[in-house]
C-alpha cells in the first residue's frame, strides 16, 4: 500500500474507497480475489447445500474483531458474491488470513 495514500487522495480531491485485497495488487487485484472465491468455494454436499466453502477449512475458531473490520468484510463479501454464489464476510476473512499467512511463509 502507498504510505501516503490519504495525503495523495486529499491532493487529488479523491476519496479512498477501499483497500484492494492482497491478490496481487493493482487494478486487477479485486477482480482476481473475486475469481479466487468463485473458483475455490464449493457448495457443501447434502440435501440442502449451504454457502460454498473451501473444503480444506476444517476448523471454525472464533475470531474477535471491530465493527469497522466486520463492515469492510461485509463490503468485500458483497463484491465477491454473484447471483449463483454468495460469499459470507467470514469466508472473506478466512481467505484473507490464508493468503496473508501463505505469503508470510514464502518470505
Amino acid at each position: 500500500m502507498a504510505r501516503n495514500v490519504h495525503k495523495i487522495a486529499k491532493r487529488l480531491g479523491a476519496t479512498v474507497v477501499d483497500r484492494v485485497p492482497d491478490a496481487g495488487g493493482g487494478a486487477f487485484g479485486a477482480a482476481r480475489l473475486a475469481k479466487i472465491f468463485q473458483a475455490r468455494l464449493q457448495p457443501s454436499q447434502g440435501q440442502r447445500p449451504g454457502r460454498p466453502t473451501d473444503p480444506s477449512w476444517v476448523l471454525h475458531p472464533k475470531v474477535p474483531m471491530s465493527q469497522a473490520t466486520m463492515q469492510k468484510l461485509t463490503q468485500l463479501a458483497n463484491q465477491a458474491s454473484t447471483a449463483d454464489r454468495k460469499v459470507s464476510p467470514m469466508q472473506v476473512a478466512a481467505q484473507l488470513l490464508e493468503m496473508s499467512l501463505g505469503e508470510e511463509r514464502q518470505d
Binding site: 500500500m1 502507498a2 504510505r3 501516503n4 495514500v5 495525503k7 495523495i8 487522495a9 491532493r11 487529488l12 480531491g13 479523491a14 476519496t15 479512498v16 474507497v17 477501499d18 483497500r19 484492494v20 492482497d22 495488487g25 493493482g26 487494478a27 487485484g29 479485486a30
Partner: protein, 132 residues
C-alpha cells in the same frame, strides 16, 4: 527493490502502481470520445511519470449511488503506470486537474483510480436538468 534492479542491470525501478480507468460512456450510458481521453491520459502519464501502458477495452460496471443504485455498464480502457509516491505527489495537481476535467466533460458519476492497493474515487454530483 534496489537489489532486483541491480540484478537486471536496470536503470529504473519504480515501485508504485498507478492505474486509471478511462470510461467509454457517460453516466447515462451515452458513448464518449474514449480514444481522445486515452491519448490525453497517456500524454499526461508519459510527461509526469515517464511512461504508461493502456490495455485494450475491458468490460465494467459501476453503481451510481447518487441515482438510486442504477448500474452503468461500460468498456473502460485500463491504463497502468509504474511510478513513485514522490512523483505522484509532485504531479498531483496536474493529475487531479486532468481527472476532474475528464469526469466533468464526460458527465461521469465518478472517476476511479488505484494507487498500489488502494482504490480511490473522485465523485461528481448529478447534473441538474434545466429546461430551455
Amino acid at each position: 527493490m534496489g537489489d532486483m534492479a541491480d540484478r537486471f542491470q536496470a536503470d529504473k525501478a519504480e515501485s508504485t502502481l498507478l492505474v486509471l480507468f478511462i470510461p467509454s460512456v457517460d453516466r447515462d450510458e451515452q458513448p464518449i470520445d474514449q480514444e481522445s481521453w486515452v491519448g490525453q491520459s497517456l500524454e499526461l502519464l508519459g510527461r509526469e511519470f515517464g511512461g504508461a501502458t493502456a490495455f485494450p477495452q475491458a468490460r465494467g460496471v459501476w453503481r451510481d449511488d447518487a441515482r438510486g443504485g442504477r448500474l452503468v455498464f461500460d468498456e473502460p480502457v485500463i491504463i497502468q503506470c509504474y511510478t513513485s509516491e514522490q512523483a505522484i505527489e509532485q504531479g498531483a495537481d496536474r493529475l487531479r486537474d486532468f481527472l476532474v476535467r475528464m469526469g466533468r466533460d464526460t458527465n461521469q458519476g465518478a472517476v476511479g483510480l488505484v494507487i498500489d492497493r488502494d482504490y480511490l474515487e473522485i465523485r461528481f454530483p448529478v447534473r441538474e436538468v434545466t429546461d430551455g
